[in-house]
């Protein structure tokens, strides 16, 4: 039993590693074709992602909202609800946090707490909306959540351009909210590095979601619902309650992730800051890679984040143009998404079964 658990754990962790390695080999071909030294380019990329404390801290900082977006997907998808609304929920979470932390006239610490709570609420409400559309009108999650993402982004754009624009900005083009006061921000862990306490909070959330999904009655019921919703219904699980519980929790994770990005990194909402960065989508890729295992999601999120920060380093330190860097990042992401290790392990089991059968 333990052996099986270990194998499953290693598979979860090892899978991204295998995919990344094969992807790096393919990426090497692209780098070679663009005329750069492959080893130098990968050296720059690795240094830019994990090379020293500074770059590692940048990677972990970028990973923070990705982890939270991944947890949101883990909760929803593992329960059988293939919702893709993390982006919209994260946008409203980030925007709410930025507004509350900037405008609410209370003590700085309270601003931070209220901003986080507000972000959770915003994410949950927006998530419940898609749940309601599904329950009431059978609007499939894919359509409703994708459309709600666009709506959230445009609403946030409108507000940051026209209504909540930074009153202190000297540039009329600056579409961003006002900067949150220093005392209300999530402090950096080390002063010279960009890593902030939000990352550790996200890691804590990973542990909490892991416990929730694996050690509680709710987790058991939600997983059962994910495996077979009809069986779950037959087993006496209240499908309606389950749907809303899952959507709320998922929305809370995504919205909270948005608040961590605002309070710990950008200190304001900048138009398109969640949409363009694709945090929620990276979170979804991370969760898919890790088979919705929260701990695997954490590892995959850091790898994906490292890919982005390493890619930026590659672009700024070599002659490789940004389009080629994006191509390399894309190739690596696609290959990371191929669950190679799963395929290998399935084939291995198949062969062993076959061999066993032949022996008998």
């Amino acid at each position: 039993m333990r052996k099986k658990k270990l194998q499953s754990f290693l598979t979860t962790l090892g899978q991204p590693m295998v995919s990344v390695t094969i992807a790096l080999l393919l990426g090497a071909v692209i780098i070679g074709l663009s005329g750069e030294n492959v080893f130098k380019a990968y050296g720059v990329m690795l240094k830019g992602a994990f090379g020293d404390g500074y770059y590692l801290s940048s990677t972990l900082s970028r990973a923070t909202p990705i982890i939270m977006g991944g947890l949101a997907v883990c909760i929803a998808w593992r329960s059988g609800y293939e919702a893709m609304g993390g982006e919209g929920q994260m946008i409203f979470g980030a925007l709410s946090a930025a507004i509350i932390a900037y405008y609410v006239p209370v003590a700085p610490f309270l601003r931070t707490v209220l901003a986080m709570l507000g972000a959770c609420l915003a994410g949950a409400v927006y998530s419940v909306l898609s749940g309601w559309l599904y329950e009431k009108w059978r609007v499939t999650f894919i359509i409703s959540t994708l459309m709600l993402n666009y709506i959230a982004n445009y609403v946030a754009s409108y507000l940051t351009i026209y209504k909540l624009k930074d009153p202190e900005a000297l540039d009329i083009n600056a579409s961003q909210t006002g900067k949150i006061m220093e005392a209300a921000r999530l402090p950096r862990i080390f002063k010279a590095y960009s890593l902030h306490w939000g990352f550790l909070i996200a890691v804590l959330c990973v542990v909490l979601v892991y416990i929730l999904m694996n050690k509680t009655e709710f987790g058991y019921k939600s997983r059962m619902n994910g495996f077979n919703s009809r069986f779950a219904l037959y087993g006496g699980i209240n499908a309606r309650k389950m749907l809303y519980m899952v959507m709320i929790l998922s929305g809370v994770c995504a919205g909270f992730g948005g608040s961590l990005e605002v309070l710990g990194s950008k200190y304001r909402y900048i138009d398109q800051m969640i949409f363009n960065t694709g945090y929620a989508w990276s979170g979804m890729v991370a969760a898919l890679l890790a088979n919705f295992n929260p701990i695997g999601t954490l590892v995959a999120s850091i790898l994906l984040s490292g890919l982005a920060t390493g890619g930026a380093a590659l672009q700024r330190s070599t002659s490789i143009p940004v389009e080629t860097v994006n191509m390399i990042e894309g190739v690596i992401t696609i290959l990371m998404s191929v669950k190679l290790l799963n395929l290998i392990s399935v084939r291995y089991r198949h062969t062993r079964k076959k061999e066993g059968g032949e022996k008998q």
Partner: protein, 372 residues
């Protein structure tokens, strides 16, 4: 099971060896001055001796450049001045807001001597890094005001140039009822363009009507192409091209319509794009980010690059209008006649001397003509 574990271990080994390669290179780079004595033969061959006068290192942080003339001018100027000034430089292109922040912090961390940011996104990150830094790195931003006395900001008074473009349109097409406009984003940022253009047209055609379309992108010529065709169908002959790289769609529409014997005329943004191959591009509203980059580099090397905001106007030569303030590649003299150009030049002289002040009002206070 054993196979899986050994596979994972093998991959980890491979990854760690790659990391090893990375860190070795890093150290070599960090210890560049001592590279002469280092045994790493390959590196020594590449850089045989550390030059006594260290080349300055300059970072330019901007959006992805592509074919955006606003940014290609900066890249071209950086390349052109390198031979003269002998600096090393890196163009850091940012795909999203996180990359803006990460590149700013990384450039500061990597000890560049000068960091130039281009675009409004640069403002707050430049100010933050400059405030947090020890003063060894200098900061400059183009086309925005960072609002910090540690950042040299260079902003543009685009309403002056937009007014000249509107004036030119009104003089060249005085009988038109409707004037078209295709821009990137409708928002406060476009107001100085819209206002300048409308006011310029209204000098000769006070009852002119206007129609506006927005591509919501800096690089979507397909949308601009459709908007140009629609605005032509509505009756517009002149379409203000205010949509960065999307303008290419308007120019393409002009060529297509010309084949059918129908004509629209437009202008480019930021740099001259007039060409005999497309005589329907009459002029360009110049925002010469290349000139501004040159100003920054000259000041940096002269030791006179100081914090605070400088607003560049028609008088500074960083903004202007092709065939009025600057020459272009091709003049469509059938449309831009001597009279039209000399009238525009007169107004430019009056604007520069202050005789004809261009004062941008708040959008909320502006009395619009009919907008279709």
């Amino acid at each position: 099971m054993k196979k899986s574990i050994s596979l994972i271990l093998a991959m980890l080994l491979l990854l760690s060896s790659l990391v090893g390669c990375g860190s070795a290179k890093t150290e070599e780079k960090k210890e560049e001055p001592a590279a002469e004595t280092a045994p790493a033969a390959e590196e020594v061959v590449e850089e045989p001796a550390a030059e006594p006068a260290e080349a300055k290192r300059i970072a330019v942080i901007c959006d992805t450049i592509g074919t955006n003339l606003f940014l290609t001018q900066v890249a071209d100027e950086m390349a052109a001045k390198q031979a003269e000034l002998g600096y090393e430089y890196s163009m850091m292109e940012c795909a999203d807001s996180d990359e803006w922040q990460a590149n700013y912090e990384a450039a500061a961390h990597e000890g560049y001597d000068l960091i130039i940011g281009v675009g409004w996104q640069a403002g707050s990150f430049a100010a933050e890094c400059a405030e947090a830094g020890d003063g060894t790195t200098q900061y400059a931003v183009i086309d925005t005001d960072a609002g910090s006395d540690k950042v040299a900001s260079f902003a543009y008074n685009e309403e002056q140039a937009a007014f000249v473009m509107g004036l030119m349109a009104g003089l060249a097409f005085p009988e038109e009822e409707l004037y078209g406009y295709v821009g990137c984003f409708e928002g406060p940022g476009s107001w100085k363009y819209r206002w300048g253009f409308m006011e310029g047209v209204k000098v000769t055609n006070p009852d002119a009507k206007f129609t506006f379309n927005w591509t919501n992108s800096y690089s979507d010529p397909t949308n601009a192409h459709e908007f140009a065709l629609q605005q032509h169908a509505m009756g517009a002959t002149y379409i203000f091209g205010g949509a960065a790289a999307c303008n290419e769609g308007i120019f393409q529409a002009a060529l297509e319509l010309a084949e059918k014997g129908e004509y629209i005329y437009s202008i480019a943004q930021d740099a001259d794009a007039t060409t005999e191959a497309n005589p329907y591009i009459l002029s360009a509203q110049l925002k010469n980010t290349g000139v501004t980059t040159g100003i920054i580099l000259d000041k940096f090397y002269a030791g006179t690059l100081e914090g605070g905001c400088t607003e560049l106007k028609l008088a500074d030569g960083a903004i202007g209008a092709t065939w009025v303030t600057n020459d272009g590649a091709y003049l469509n003299s059938d449309i831009l006649t001597e009279e039209v150009l000399s009238a525009c030049k007169d107004y430019v002289a009056k604007i520069i001397s202050g005789e004809y002040p261009i004062v941008l009002p708040e959008e909320a206070d502006y009395q619009f003509n009919e907008i279709l």
